[in-house]
Point group: C2
Chain length 330, copies 2
């Protein structure tokens, strides 16, 4: 579908979102680590969205979508095995809206507990995308719920972009201008939002994406100009296994300068570096930008780079077992 | 030995320390968690000393001791299997002093790597306290190094107390007065320092200690008035296995209102709560105060409590295995 048939968000929508969600979300801190800077020979600032409400930036997009519901909506729904489901459940609970989250029966118990803890109803389904979509369709038909998609949605993209407005403001407060803002890319809600916001607010800052080499559809889409809509992802970064959304691709190709990738071993090493040096519990997906800096060092050497730490929700036992495996193999 | 033969620090030494170490250390943040507040029915603020230089409050005491060395000292030494060794190595390196740390050959590789990474020489010895003291004595005789003890030292106590001055200032900035400041107690450097600082600066705030039930010498010493100098500790909180120092006991009995204890299962549960709710990687010893709040809830209900998160250095694989064991047994 050509772009002109899509309802694409503009940067004005990001500014409106920032105003409308300001009271619901945290202004998360921007932190540094001199040890990581020495390790990477760059000046890296981490935007701590793992400290955002619900433990991920997804709270921004969900919150903004719920500020812009069709009149009379009393129930929302989505399908998600991850952070978007929890974020929508939280945002709906805060507004007194009913919420149903369709989750694959393979989703970790901790993620089910988070969604249930925010008061949403969970509908379990089979693990395939077709299973999920069919189950969500049944929910919509039975209940009339309004669907809030995880990333391919203008309200969600604009909401995620608010993180970049905060970054720009915090950098000004700290008295520096970053050369690059680097965000992980899965479905592309975060990266498209950041691109939109900074192309309007600070066009001199390069916006770049980072994704696992084992799920590099966004890099291939951006570099070839052809939107790749299917892949077989192979990565521990569970938040980045989705393919780029249609609106997301349309925004990213206009506002993002490049996408870099990271190997699985670099993702584990970056996550371990973040845990041990910053003492911040970030999930594998959040470690992908630092991993990409480590593996594309020439691109980042001597630069001021803001990295979005996208979330901090994971199975801890599984995450630590990755460190043990990596230590053994290295 | 009666108190009057000891060179005890006063609160003036804490104020001097704060001035002298201000440029070497971080002013760590004070954070909250609405989920933990609901869980504990109290209003808890966490002072993030796991984000301090070297990942523990020990950087304060080591830094202050090195501001007060005998003239002409060019080398310092200590024995430590934990955070004090790394802190002294770091502080010595920053001043261009040579440093030797006597470590038991059973100390985790990660701790040896940290000490070596700060440029100190490591002398390995057997695991008993007698082994360590003999090895340290040989280092002193061979090199003339000046010994900086881990806790039973006025300079160290005054340095650790600076954390309480920051807490008082941050609470004022946030517009509230805490009812209680709760710090973990092992050798007692931190708790004595906090007691000294707050008895002078804010005598209305109760200062309390928290220790593992399996290493409760400080509670028994304080409650009976008789300094217990030997125990057989049995706790995962490796930073709190030491017995209370002589100077530390003398200060604590004058400035600390009570010491509460926590079971091992509560320590694991509190650590898991901190990891998952605040996304902060704190070590078992740092989770002891929250564990003690959970197990002595009547003492803390409805109160404003500042908890010192003392450090964030640990073997991650071992820490996460504790969660898995606890999940199985509960």
């Amino acid at each position: 579908m050509p772009d002109h048939n899509l309802d694409l968000p503009g940067s004005a929508e990001v500014f409106s979102a920032a105003q409308d969600i300001a009271e619901q979300i945290h202004r998360t801190p921007l932190i540094g680590s001199s040890q990581i800077d020495r390790h990477c020979d760059a000046n890296i600032f981490f935007k701590c969205e793992h400290l955002q409400k619900t433990g991920a930036f997804k709270a921004r997009g969900a919150s903004n979508a719920l500020c812009r519901l069709p009149a009379g909506t009393s129930m929302v729904a989505t399908h998600s095995s991850g952070n978007h489901g929890a974020a929508l459940a939280w945002a709906a609970g805060a507004r007194g809206l009913a919420c149903t989250v369709v989750m694959p029966d393979t989703a970790p118990l901790a993620k089910r507990a988070a969604v249930a803890g925010y008061g949403a109803e969970i509908v379990l389904c089979g693990p395939s995308l077709a299973d999920r979509e069919a189950a969500l369709q049944r929910v919509v038909e039975d209940s009339g719920a309004h669907v809030v998609p995880p990333f391919d949605d203008s309200r969600v993209i604009a909401g995620q972009g608010t993180v970049a407005l905060e970054i720009a403001q915090q950098c000004r407060e700290e008295g520096f201008m970053p050369d690059i803002v680097l965000a992980p890319v899965g479905g592309g809600g975060l990266l498209a939002g950041v691109g939109l916001a900074l192309s309007a607010l600070a066009p001199d800052i390069l916006v770049m994406g980072a994704e696992p080499a084992g799920a590099d559809d966004a890099q291939r889409s951006l570099r070839t100009g052809v939107h790749i809509t299917a892949q077989t992802p192979d990565t521990i970064a569970d938040g980045l296994r989705t393919t780029l959304g249609q609106r997301n691709f349309a925004v990213i190709r206009r506002t993002v300068s490049d996408i870099v990738t990271a190997s699985e071993s670099a993702i584990v090493a970056a996550m371990q570096l973040l845990w041990t040096r910053t003492k911040q519990l970030v999930e594998p997906s959040a470690a992908v930008p630092l991993a990409a800096i480590m593996e594309n060092s020439a691109r980042f050497r001597g630069k001021k780079v803001v990295v979005v730490l996208s979330g901090g929700n994971m199975d801890l036992v599984r995450a630590v077992s990755l460190f043990a495996e990596e230590d053994k193999s290295s």
